[in-house]
C-alpha cells in the first residue's frame, strides 16, 4: 500500500523515474525564474546557424579580400596586402561599374515607389473587399513563376523585332531600340521587384486611421495638403522599408544585366562572377564588400527614417 502510494506520487524508488521528473521540474523552475534562459534555448539553434552560415562566411569573404592569387598556379597566397582594394580604387572601369549598379538600383527604387504608392493607396483605402483580394492576387501571382522565365519574356518583348516595337509600329509611333540596354535592365528590375515595394507601402497606408484624414479635413486642409502633411509622412516608413528590398535586390543581382543588358551593362555582381570563373577570388571578395558597405549605410539611413517600425 505504502509502495503504491509512493508510486502514485511519483516517489517510487525505481531509479529512472525520479531523477528525470525532478530534473524536469527543476528546469521548468529555472525557466520561470529566469526568462532569459528560455529565450536563449529558443534562440540558440537559429543563432548558431546565423553565426556559422552567415557571419562566418561574411568574415571569410572579408579576410580573403586581403589575399592574392599566384598568377601562374592560380593558388591562393596568404599574404596580407591591399592590392585588390588599390586596383578597385585606381581603375576607372570599376568606378563606373559600381556607380552604374548603385545608380540603377536607386532608379529602380524610385520607379517602384512611384508605381506602388497609388496602387497601395487604392488597395488600402479605395478598393472593396473583393477588388482588394483581386489586386492582391494580381500583385503576388508573378512571384509564382520563375524569375528567369520573366527575364527571358521581357527580353523577347523588348527585342528590336519584339512585341513592343510591333505595337508601336501598329499605332504609328517610331520604334524604341531599348532591347539589350541599361533601359531594359532598369525596366525589368522595376517589374520583378515591384511586389516587394507594394506590400510594405500597402501595410503603412492601411495603418493610417481614417480619423486623421477627417481631422485634417475639419481643420480646413485640402486634399493635396492632407496628402502632403498627413498621408505621406505616415506612409514614408513603409516606402523606405520597401526600398530596402528593391535597392538591395537590384544591388546584388547579376542575372538580369547578363541576359538583358547591352555592351555597357556590367553590374558589380557580373564582375564578381567573372573574377570567380577566372579564379581571382580575392579580387571578387574585395569588390563584393562594396555593396555590403553601401547596404550598411543605406540601412542606417533607413533606420533613421523609421523603416524598421514599418516592417
Amino acid at each position: 500500500m505504502a509502495a503504491s502510494l509512493d508510486a502514485a506520487q511519483g516517489l517510487s524508488r525505481r531509479p529512472p523515474g525520479r531523477p528525470t521528473r525532478a530534473a524536469r521540474l527543476r528546469l521548468s523552475g529555472l525557466f520561470w525564474r529566469h526568462p532569459w534562459a528560455k529565450a536563449l534555448l529558443l534562440l540558440a539553434p537559429p543563432l548558431l546557424a546565423f553565426l556559422l552560415v552567415y557571419v562566418a562566411s561574411l568574415a571569410a569573404l572579408f579576410v580573403s579580400s586581403f589575399w592574392t592569387i599566384d598568377p601562374f598556379t592560380s593558388e591562393l597566397r596568404h599574404v596580407w596586402n591591399l592590392d585588390n582594394y588599390r586596383t578597385l580604387w585606381e581603375a576607372g572601369a570599376y568606378h563606373s561599374v559600381a556607380l552604374r549598379t548603385i545608380g540603377i538600383a536607386a532608379a529602380v527604387t524610385l520607379a517602384d515607389a512611384a508605381l506602388a504608392f497609388p496602387l497601395g493607396y487604392f488597395m488600402a483605402r479605395v478598393a472593396g473587399r473583393r477588388s482588394r483580394a483581386f489586386v492582391f492576387v494580381a500583385v503576388l501571382l508573378p512571384l509564382w513563376s520563375s524569375y528567369l522565365v520573366r527575364v527571358y519574356i521581357w527580353r523577347l518583348i523588348l527585342a528590336d523585332d519584339g512585341v513592343l516595337n510591333w505595337t508601336l509600329r501598329k499605332v504609328g509611333l517610331p520604334a524604341a531600340h531599348i532591347g539589350y540596354s541599361n533601359w531594359a535592365v532598369w525596366l525589368i528590375f522595376t517589374y520583378v521587384w515591384l511586389p516587394f515595394m507594394i506590400l510594405p507601402v500597402y501595410g503603412a497606408l492601411e495603418r493610417i486611421p481614417e480619423s486623421f484624414l477627417e481631422a485634417s479635413r475639419d481643420l480646413g486642409a485640402g486634399a493635396w495638403t492632407t496628402f502632403r502633411r498627413v498621408v505621406l509622412p505616415l506612409a514614408l516608413p513603409g516606402v523606405v522599408a520597401g526600398s530596402i528590398f528593391t535597392f538591395s535586390l537590384t544591388l546584388g543581382d547579376y542575372v538580369t544585366p547578363l541576359l538583358a543588358g547591352g555592351a555597357s551593362s556590367q553590374f558589380i555582381g557580373n564582375v564578381v562572377y567573372d573574377n570567380i570563373t577566372t579564379q581571382q577570388t580575392p579580387f571578387a571578395a574585395a569588390f563584393a564588400t562594396v555593396p555590403l558597405a553601401v547596404m550598411g549605410v543605406y540601412l542606417l539611413l533607413a533606420r533613421r527614417l523609421g523603416a524598421f517600425e514599418a516592417l
Binding site: 555597357s264 556590367q266 567573372d274
Partner: protein
C-alpha cells in the same frame, strides 16, 4: 675506378629492377598498355553539344560506363571546374587550346597513351601531336575536332556581303554588332591588326607585346560603342540574330547551323584576314576516378561514326580522316562543307586558340600573359 664502375652497375641494376613492368603498364613511362575493366561511371566537362545522346547512349550500352556531363561556357570555366574539389570530381574535359596548356602546366591532367586509341592512326598529321596537347613528346590527351571562328551576317540587312572583319569595326552597323564575351576575343582584334597595320609587327595574335596589346585593346575600345551585346552563350547570339538585335557578329558554325535550320536569312564566312579557331582535346584528369571508362570514351569519340555525328551536329571538322565518308553518308555534302580531310594549307590558315603566356617564343618574356588579357577584357566591358 673499379668502385665507381661497380656502383654504376648497381644503379643500373636497381633501375632495371624498378622498371620491370607491372601488368598493363608500359616500361618506364608508367602509361597503361591495355584498358582495364570499366568502372561503371564517367564524369565529364564538355562544350555544349559534345555529349549528345546520339553517341552517348550507345557508348553507355557498349561499355557500361554511365556518363554524367556538365556543360561549361568558357575555357576559364573548364579550368576552374577541373581544379574544383582537388580535381577528383571529373574524369575528363573537352579542352580547347587556350585551356589545355594551363591544365598541363597546372598538373590537372595526366599523360595518356595514344596507342590505346585504335583510330589515332587515322588522324590528320597536324592533330597527332599538336603543341596544344603534346609537351616534350608526352601526349596529354586525344585530339577531337577543330574549326574556325566565323563572321556571321544577316543576308537581307548586310549588303554588300562582307569579305573582311572590318565590318565589325566600322560604324555602318552601329548598334547591330555582337562579339563573344571572352578575353580570347583580343586575339581576333590582333589578327585583324596584323593584316591591316603591318607596322605593329604582329606575327602571332596570341603573343603580343605591350605596344601590340595596347593597339588591340584600343581597337576594341573603339568597337565598343558599335556593340549591341557581348554574347556569353551561343543561344544569346542566336536570339540576337532572330530578333533583329544584331545583323553581323563573330560566331561559331554552330550558331549558323541553328539559325539556318530556323529559316533565318544568315550566312557565315572566313574573312580574307583569316580566322582564329579552336582545336579541342579530350583530356584525362590527373586524379580521375574512372580512368578506364575515360580511355574507352576517348576511343569511342575517335571512331569515324561518332566523329562524323559530332562534326555535323556542331558544325566542325573531325580529326579522324575516316569520318569524311561517314559524314557524306549522314548528310550529303557535309564533308566538303566542314572541310573534312582538309589540306594542311587550310589547317595552317586558322590561328588556333592557345593560352597567352609571357614567353614570346623568341626568347623574350615581354608578352602579355593571360591574366593581363582577362583584366583588360573586364575593364573593357566595365
Amino acid at each position: 675506378m673499379s668502385r665507381i664502375r661497380r656502383s654504376h652497375v648497381l644503379v643500373a641494376a636497381l633501375a632495371a629492377a624498378l622498371c620491370v613492368p607491372a601488368s598493363g603498364v608500359a616500361a618506364g613511362s608508367g602509361l597503361p598498355t591495355t584498358i582495364g575493366k570499366g568502372e561503371g561511371a564517367l564524369n565529364l566537362i564538355a562544350w555544349e553539344g559534345y555529349t549528345q545522346p546520339q553517341w552517348v547512349k550507345p557508348f553507355e550500352k557498349a561499355t557500361g560506363c554511365k556518363v554524367t556531363a556538365k556543360y561549361a561556357g568558357s575555357s576559364d570555366e573548364m579550368v576552374t571546374l577541373m581544379r574544383q574539389g582537388g580535381g577528383t570530381q571529373y574524369d575528363g574535359v573537352s579542352a580547347s587550346g587556350d585551356a589545355s596548356l594551363r591544365l598541363i602546366y597546372g598538373h590537372d591532367v595526366q599523360p595518356v597513351n595514344p596507342k590505346l586509341i585504335p583510330d589515332f592512326k587515322n588522324f590528320i598529321p597536324a592533330l597527332k601531336s599538336p603543341p596544344h596537347n603534346t609537351v616534350k613528346g608526352v601526349h596529354y590527351g586525344i585530339s577531337l575536332q577543330w574549326g574556325p571562328n566565323t563572321l556571321l551576317y544577316n543576308t537581307t540587312k548586310v549588303k554588300p556581303a562582307p569579305k573582311s572583319w572590318s565590318v565589325l569595326y566600322s560604324a555602318k552597323y552601329r548598334g547591330k554588332v555582337t562579339v563573344p564575351d571572352n578575353p580570347i576575343q583580343i586575339a581576333d582584334a590582333a589578327l585583324y591588326l596584323a593584316k591591316t597595320k603591318p607596322s605593329l609587327g604582329i606575327v602571332d595574335p596570341y603573343e603580343l607585346n605591350q605596344k601590340q596589346f595596347d593597339a588591340a585593346i584600343d581597337l576594341l575600345e573603339r568597337q565598343k560603342p558599335l556593340i549591341k551585346k557581348y554574347w556569353a552563350l551561343a543561344s544569346d547570339e542566336i536570339d540576337l540574330f532572330k530578333n533583329g538585335g544584331a545583323v553581323v557578329g563573330a560566331s561559331w558554325p554552330y550558331q549558323t547551323n541553328t539559325l539556318i535550320a530556323a529559316k533565318a536569312p544568315v550566312r557565315d564566312l572566313i574573312p580574307r584576314e583569316g580566322a582564329t579557331g579552336w582545336a579541342d582535346t579530350w583530356m584525362m584528369s590527373a586524379h580521375a576516378k574512372h580512368p578506364n571508362c575515360m580511355y574507352r570514351w576517348m576511343a569511342w569519340v575517335s571512331t569515324p561514326k561518332v566523329q562524323a555525328q559530332q562534326a555535323i551536329y556542331f558544325g566542325e571538322t573531325p580529326a579522324n580522316t575516316k569520318a569524311c565518308a561517314v559524314m557524306d553518308k549522314l548528310a550529303k555534302g557535309s564533308a566538303a562543307q566542314y572541310h573534312c580531310g582538309a589540306s594542311k594549307k587550310y589547317f595552317d590558315s586558322i590561328r588556333f586558340w592557345k593560352t597567352p603566356v609571357a614567353d614570346c617564343g623568341n626568347g623574350k618574356n615581354t608578352c602579355m600573359d593571360y591574366t593581363k588579357w582577362q583584366q583588360a577584357w573586364t575593364q573593357l566591358k566595365g
